[in-house]
Amino acid sequence: MAAKTLFEKIWDAHVVRTEPDGTTLLYVDRQLVHEVTSPQAFEGLKLAGRKPRRPGATLAVPDHNVPTTDRKLGIADPVSAKQIRTLEENCRDCGITVFGMNDVRQGIVHVIGPEQGFTLPGMTIVCGDSHTSTHGAFGALAFGIGTSEVEHVLATQCLLQTKPKTMEIRVDGTLSERCSAKDVILAIIGKIGTAGGTGYVIEYTGSVIHALTMEGRMTLCNMSIEAGARAGMVAPDDKTASYIKGRPMAPTGDLWEQAVKAWRALPTDSGATYDKTVELRAEQVAPQVTWGTSPGMVTGVDGMVPDPKAMPDDRARKATERALEYMGLAPNMPITQIAIDKVFIGSCTNSRIEDLRLAASFAKGRKVAKSVHAMVVPGSGLVKKQAEQEGLDKIFQAAGFEWREAGCSMCLAMNADVLQPGERCASTSNRNFEGRQGAGGRTHLVSPIMAVAAAVEGHFVDIRNWK
């Protein structure tokens, strides 16, 4: 048999049929659903008199709109409340499991899938959300789709897809102490650009990737979409299986044994080839900070805000000028001199228990600067509970961080957590687009411990030699 990549094995196992031009009807094992991108899909289904083919292959949760303050008070915004109510009604009508807002299992859709054991290696997983790429950390083919496609999957359990190309991103060497998966992925995006992965599925390989924890791999795969890729993946190994084992929706008994055996056959065969390979040395990765309005506008914390005059062409110069104007930054300013107003630790990129443990270990015994407002938003109700059992909430609160309920929160500011115009935020999320965290708000993407250090000092610092 021909040598295959991880991607090719999963793709081939899910082909239902192929059109003459290669367009493929691909079987979907699991779908995740949230309140923002699903109402029109359920409506379309109803209007056409169709029913979900496999309601038990779908899991739903409200996350984008939910308040992260006291939930007993309900949702102040009637439009948000209606969207969440609509999700619950639609799921009830269709027989789809939904974790309601007051369920301890509620959380960001890309946090709860893995947490519940709903996400498994070798699966095809979709969700009406671009960061579905997160689930690729388990060696699944997971990607975001639009609302019409959500409806398509509900009705048919399949999707029409053109086969993407494959890209290997190999990261070897040794990461400096205090550098993390977040810094690796930001450095990758800085290197290949925000459209560098367009048309590709990325497989991350190399010693650095395999040394990452499952949480780190999720952070990495999460931001594959910021590199333009359709999906990102990491081959499953023993770490993957032990993370999944015993989770509520994971296979058990005989099925578990069969599944693990199949997962061992998933990694890319030696001799298989990719359409493209990119290499990165871990030694070159400094803690990263974005300075602009696109995730590719990024540099090491020891670097400087770029000078548009030094840009190679007209278009790059214009884009840089525009970004600097929006961000209120001067060319050639050292990154460590950028002062911040807010700190957001959360989002499907960095809100898992490991992120919070690490962040808390740096917050311990320190104080958030007077000029800074900082908050921590756990990725799920269960992450929150676990953190509280470990006393992390007390550490954060003693340091002056707010401790919130689970949800997307200020990652996209659809609920009440919003940046004011001109405010500058160090954020552990994944997008620094104009207005993403609030109209006129300015976002700098960083790792959780870089965010803690910035909160304490009131400006960015090089975490590698921080106290």
Binding site: R17, L25, Y27, E43, R50, V79, G122, G144, H152, C158
Partner: protein, 207 residues
Amino acid sequence: MQPFTTHTGLVAPLDRVNVDTDQIIPKQFLKTIKRTGLREGLFYDWRKRKDGSPDPDFFLNQPRYQRATILLTRDNFGCGSSREHAPWALLDQGFRCVIAPSYADIFYNNCFQNGILPVVLKTDEVQALFKGVSKEGYTLTVNLDAQTVTTPDGATYRFDIDPFRKDCLYKGLDAIGLSLQHDSAIAAYEKRRSSEAPWLFTDLAAR
């Protein structure tokens, strides 16, 4: 879905790279449970100046582009969030076609689901169209069958498109209806696969 065959329309230029879907339609418009009425959210933050008044420099605020149906823009259009509200808003404003050197994957897909044709032309061809559009009343003719874009002075640029997608858009086909015609193939797949990999078929009971 409205079929797309041949379309002649007024062109509006958006001379920016990496236009993301947060910009095409900001989050406050995503709370709707409908597909229509999204026009007022289209490029919402770019339509206004800092003080909230309409920005006369932004193309959508200029009378000459009010009836535009073809959006001309730059690389990596539609990156970021998967929100289909982006093509819905473009459609609601009257756009049937976008022309750019490249698109983000999910946005590109979403266009086809809504009867919008995303045309990919070479960077220098797009540049030539940007030159042309400086003339008021600049129109283009987009012929899906021939896969061409033709300028008022007769220059013609060819574009590529997957045959299957082209056919669906040309005929305005309902993709779900098409896939449902393969119901027996799907059922056969499920039967085979559930014996090979039974752990993938332990469905959740609705709770």
